[in-house]
């Protein structure tokens, strides 16, 4: 909402400096977003006199001017300056506008420097209106009356020293969309006296030949009131200069007196209006809901087709205007318009918002009507508009045509003057509270406070407190300590899951991964590749096709991040994210995942030969480290049935039993890598953080440590088995040989490939394990060791079909 200081002063008598007004506006909740002060741009341009203008000796079209200037204002001494000027009207005795050397000329964007033009010095500029950005006129320099005050600032002389203030209006304050409403707030704050001129009625001299009816489908809601007036014999044309200046200052284009009147009403009183060319209205006016399929060519020269939810102003020819949003082109005013029909109506905000949104019309009328217009302003607004039209265009007004009635919005709330103190924490005297409310237009009857008709936002006693605190200034609010809810040391506040999330995050980072935060939506193709992409996870209005579906897994955005980094020249990556993945489109169908992605090599090339390509065992080790950090059980099943985005032979899932999957790990499927432009190798893990059961133990006490002083014995065994035999089968068999004695068993070598085949036959490999025996009662004898060994060999051979390697 833009307005000028001088416009404000037509409603507010004040001598308060501009900066104080700006501060108060922001403090009142009318946040100042910008101020354009003409003095900033045009303050250096002063009125001057051309002492003599003569032909430039070296150029036909240029004149050499001796200019009398007043660099330090009219009261100081004048100074003569020579200026070379190309304007045809530069002449001896001309009173013009001078810009000294050093001035920034807004129309050209140039800082003036001393110059020499065709051999003659030129120290400054005689300016045209275009150079001052006042108009497009550059046929000649500004030519002022001879009695203009020499040396005065041009902006002061022409009353252009008028700051333009731009404020943001929150949706609850439609009343502040008119300058009068802004002035009311400032006056209530004590920044001046409200002097908004009273509106006088204009008696009609005849009955309007156009009548108005409200159809049953609008009168109880969508359009409860239509005030109309016929004015005959007007002469449309440009509006007076002050109106044009005022509109132009706030960024509006003056169009014609009739249209400019509606804009004045809109910005001065927040009273949107419409003026029909009465000679183009066929028969009488009816306000009704649209019929599906009807259409209208509107003032923006676009055709809108209606679906039945819009309010239309119609005549015998059909729709003439989209009620409260935009008029039709056919019945609009032109320079030839002689008779007009003026509309001031009251529309329901919801219908305006829905129709405006549907047809994507962003008009001033829609903006205001959807926020809520003062319903009482329709009849009085009509009187003010009539007066303005008569003043600018002449004409003779009819009696008012009123269809419907001003809706009764009267309501009252109890004012509890202690509430400001208990809710806000400010002490404001009861009389001051009542004064503030009264100044804002509220009426007080005992403890009952009735809001003014222009404040649809005030809907309860808390709103009264808000108004009082706002006028008093929240800046004055002093902080007051909030006592602890409980006395003593702060309790732990994180839930087990929240702690788990942090533990996973910090563990993965400790493993050398860089944490990413990626968008939770991905493109459809990527979602599909990772088991998602269903319609229920689709956004109805995505910002782009790259962000169309909720991610089913954290890997797609991580792989995309890897591709972006590779494109920047970073081939080796360790990226991770902890965040939600989505199973469906219902609230709660999101699971917390932690995913890590390793791409390329373990590190940069190094002189130690430490670097190697990442492989599935890196991903597995990291997944296990994270599971351990979040308290998952140590013994997990390894399943091979990982989903399709993993390499089918080089991936697995860690689970508790067959159903409860805690993690997936493996090489990413080569097809996925190529679809996502990632140069492999790439391995990854994904952990479902919610899946590991939370420990039930409430006590911090650990189980007692049982260690034996007896010598442990390590024995190594190598078995020749089929290539497809899995190490875990072998280890489990070995461990099962004597559960009491065998403390641990692990694989320390695997021998496979061509050499192994040569030694052991086609399809064979050798797995070497180390078994640790820990006696509990007595040191093991050779005989006991041999007995256990024999059992181990037997169990493993039975379980795997292999043989001890000779």
């Amino acid at each position: 909402m833009k307005f000028t200081l001088s416009w404000l002063k037509t409603h507010l008598e004040t001598e308060v400096p501009l900066d104080d007004i700006l501060y108060a506006l922001t403090d009142l909740g009318l946040e100042v977003e910008g101020v354009e002060n003409p003095a900033d741009a045009l303050g250096d341009f002063r009125i001057c006199r051309v002492i003599e203008a003569k032909q430039h000796p070296n150029a036909d079209r240029l004149r050499l001017c001796r200019v009398e200037t007043w660099p330090n204002g009219p009261d100081a001494a004048s100074e003569e300056v020579q200026v070379v000027c190309g304007a045809p009207n530069a002449r001896t005795g001309l009173v013009g506008v001078f810009a000294p050397v050093g001035t920034h000329v807004p129309g050209t964007g140039v800082d003036l420097k001393p110059g020499v033009i065709r051999g003659e010095a030129s120290n400054g500029m005689l300016c045209s209106e275009r150079e001052l950005m006042l108009s497009d006129d550059h046929d000649g320099i500004i030519d002022l009356p001879a009695d203009a005050p020499m040396g005065a600032r041009f902006i002061d002389y022409t009353d252009r020293n008028d700051p333009v203030i731009d404020i943001a209006i929150t949706p609850n304050r439609p009343d502040a969309l008119g300058v009068a409403g802004i002035a009311r707030d400032l006056a209530a704050r004590g920044l001046g006296t409200l002097i908004t001129p009273a509106i006088e009625t204009v008696p009609g001299t005849f009955a309007s030949p156009i009548s108005v009816s409200l159809n049953a489908d609008v009168k109880d809601g969508p359009c409860a009131l239509f005030v109309g007036r016929y004015i005959r014999g007007v002469k449309n044309g440009p509006s007076p200069q002050w109106v044009q200046d005022r509109l132009r200052a706030i960024g509006l284009r003056p169009i014609s007196a009739l249209v400019d009147v509606t804009n004045l009403m809109t910005y001065d009183r927040n009273r949107p209006m419409h003026v029909f060319d009465a000679d183009k209205v066929a028969g009488n006016i009816e306000v009704r809901m649209a019929k599906p399929g009807e259409s209208l060519l509107a003032l923006d020269e676009k055709t809108y087709e209606f679906d039945g939810t819009e309010v239309l102003i119609c005549d015998n020819n059909g729709p003439e205007s989209i009620g409260g949003i935009m008029g039709g082109l056919a019945s609009g005013c032109t320079a030839e318009t002689v008779n007009v029909f003026v509309e001031a109506a009251f529309f329901d905000t919801i219908h305006i918002a829905a129709a405006g949104r549907k047809h994507k019309i962003n008009s001033d009328a829609r903006y205001r009507n959807e926020r809520g217009i003062d319903p009482a302003s329709a009849p009085v607004g009509m009187e003010m508009a009539t007066r303005l039209i008569q003043e600018f265009c002449g004409g003779e007004p009819s009696e008012l045509v009123i269809a419907g009635a001003v809706p009764d919005v009267a309501r009252s709330y109890k004012l509890d003057t202690d509430r400001v103190s208990s809710l806000v924490g400010m002490d404001i005297a009861a009389v001051e509270q009542e004064r503030a409310l009264t100044a804002l237009g509220f009426t007080i009857d005992g403890a009952d406070v009735t809001p003014p008709t222009w404040r649809p936002d005030v809907q309860g006693p808390a709103d009264l407190v808000e108004e009082i605190a706002r006028i008093a200034s929240l800046t004055k609010l002093e902080g007051k300590p909030m006592a602890r809810a409980e006395i003593g040391v702060t309790r732990a506040i994180l839930t087990p899951m929240q702690r788990r999330e942090t533990a996973a995050r910090r563990q993965i980072a400790a493993l050398g991964y860089n944490e990413c935060v990626t968008y939770t939506f991905v493109d459809h193709a990527s979602a599909l590749m990772f088991g998602g992409g269903e319609d229920c996870t689709k956004l109805a209005n995505p910002i782009s096709s790259e962000m169309s579906h909720m991610r089913p897994d954290l890997l797609p955005p991580l792989l995309q991040a890897a591709a972006r980094n590779q494109a920047r020249g970073f081939a080796d990556l360790a990226l991770f994210e902890v965040g939600p993945a989505f199973q469906g489109g219902e609230p709660g169908q999101q699971l917390m995942q932690a995913s890590g992605l390793l791409v390329g090599y373990t590190g940069p090339r190094d002189p130690h030969g430490a670097r190697r390509a990442v492989d599935v065992y890196d991903a597995k080790a990291d997944a296990e480290a994270v599971l351990s950090a979040i308290g998952a059980p140590a013994k997990l099943m390894v399943q091979r049935n990982a989903p399709g985005w993993w390499h089918p032979g080089r991936s697995g899932q860690l689970s508790l039993g067959p159903k409860n999957i805690l993690a997936g790990f493996g090489e990413v499927h080569p097809k996925v890598l190529s679809a996502m432009d990632v140069k492999g190798p790439a391995v990854a893990f994904t952990i479902w953080l919610e899946n590991p059961p939370f420990p039930k133990a409430k006590s911090a006490t650990r189980p007692a440590l049982v260690i034996s002083d007896l010598q442990a014995v390590e024995r190594d065994f190598a078995f020749v088995v089929d290539e497809t035999v899995e190490a875990l089968t072998l280890l489990n068999a070995a461990k099962g040989a004597d559960k009491a004695l065998i403390a641990d068993a692990s694989v320390f070598d695997q021998f496979m490939g061509a050499k192994a085949v040569a030694q052991m036959g086609e399809g064979k490999k050798s797995i070497a394990i180390s078994v640790r025996l820990q006696p509990k009662d007595a040191t093991l004898t050779d005989k006991e060791i041999e007995a256990v060994s024999a059992k181990i060999i037997d169990k493993v051979e039975k379980a795997t079909g292999g043989v001890l390697r000779g």
């Binding site: 919801i350 208990s422 806000v424 902080g479 506040i493 990626t518 939770t520 319609d535 956004l539 002189p607």
Partner: protein
């Protein structure tokens, strides 16, 4: 016994001159071995008178000890010399880099979320959570945002697809963390103190907006909490967060879910284009807040005659940018390795109040 001195001299000199371990061993055998010269002398003791023996015995033992000591000393010296010689050849270029190890990092959003949590935890706030795909009732209606409110347009809010025949209003991607207020009140009632950090979504993408960003919601309900308490809480928070006393300024504003509502500015100054929080006389808008609207309390099932309190919401990414001087919001979600390394945090640098929150 005669001749011990020359014997002693001969061997000690020999030991001193020995240049390797085998020469020393030869000397040991010829001197103190079973058939060595000292042993031979020992045998002569048997032929002596007891008186002679009393003199010669200790002398011989002393000689033997002396030679053994000399042997041991020389052996050690030779060992040291040999080790030194070996070490001289074992030179490595220690200017070479060590074996590379990956350095992981924590994202600023995570770090700052933990910082925020640490501070509010000390003031008794716990952490509440809620779904990111949210029903429009929790996201809008329960928060007193009417159906025609401009933020409910598709220009601002992401809506989920709604299947044909499913007549429920479409779900939204939550546009703020405020629906967590409602869910928490419904589940736990009042009094309460919670913060709710998390991802939020708005259909906006330009220089300073991303379609996803992070907010932290705050909600405190009690019987007598006022806006003055809110101001104190926020000033305590900002002072702890920025590590310098920070003043706030409350400005009247409007949010459908609070009343009265205030925009909150923090004190700052600009020095040579650099932002300094907590000094100077400038103000920067950082959050919206207010006293919880009675209708919002009602939606949460809380009796607004018995309880009142405040709520606030601020951008986590935004305060991270302010605190750590991160210029561009969009880069937060781009995962550029250089950015992650530069603005990321060490994994062991877990925020807590006793260690301080300023890095």
């Amino acid at each position: 016994m005669d001749g011990l001195e020359p014997l002693k001299k001969k061997y000690l000199d020999g030991i001193m001159a020995a240049s390797d371990e085998s020469a020393l061993e030869d000397l040991r055998l010829t001197a103190v071995g079973k058939k060595g010269e000292v042993a031979l002398k020992m045998r002569e003791l048997g032929k002596m008178t007891p008186e002679e023996r009393q003199v010669a015995g200790p002398a011989l033992n002393a000689l033997k000890d002396e030679i053994n000591s000399a042997l041991a000393a020389r052996k050690a010296a030779l060992g040291d010399a040999a080790l030194e010689e070996r070490l001289r050849t074992e030179w490595l270029d220690v200017t070479l880099a060590g074996r590379p190890a990956r350095q992981g990092t924590i994202h600023p959003v995570s770090q700052v979320s933990e910082e925020v949590t640490a501070i509010f935890a000390d003031m008794g706030f716990s952490v509440a959570e809620g779904p990111q795909v949210e029903s429009d009732w929790f996201n809008f209606d329960a928060l007193n945002i009417p159906p025609e409110h401009p933020t409910r347009t598709e220009m601002d809010t992401f809506y989920m697809h709604r299947a044909e025949g499913d007549d429920r209003p479409p779900h939204v991607l939550r546009t703020h963390t405020s629906p967590v207020q409602i869910r928490h009140m419904q589940e736990f009632g009042a009094p309460c103190r919670i913060i709710a950090p998390g991802r939020v979504y708005r259909a906006d993408y330009d220089q300073t907006h991303t379609p996803m960003f992070h907010q932290v919601e705050g909600l405190a309900l009690g019987t007598d909490l006022s806006m003055a308490n809110l101001k104190w809480v926020l000033e305590e928070f900002f002072s702890a967060f920025f590590g310098i006393k920070v003043k706030t300024r409350f400005r009247a504003s409007h949010f459908p879910f609070t009343e009265p509502s205030a925009e909150v500015d923090i004190q700052c100054s600009w020095v040579n284009g650099q932002l300094r929080i907590g000094e100077g006389d400038g103000w920067m808008e950082v959050l919206g807040s207010g006293m919880v609207h009675p209708k919002v309390l009602a939606a949460g099932g809380v009796d607004s005659d018995a309880f009142q309190g405040f709520a606030f919401g601020m951008g986590i990414d935004r305060i991270a940018m302010l605190k750590y001087g991160i210029p561009d919001l969009r880069a937060f979600f781009d995962s550029d390795l250089r950015w992650l390394r530069h603005y990321g945090f060490s994994t062991l640098d877990q925020p807590n109040l006793h260690g301080g929150l300023n890095r």
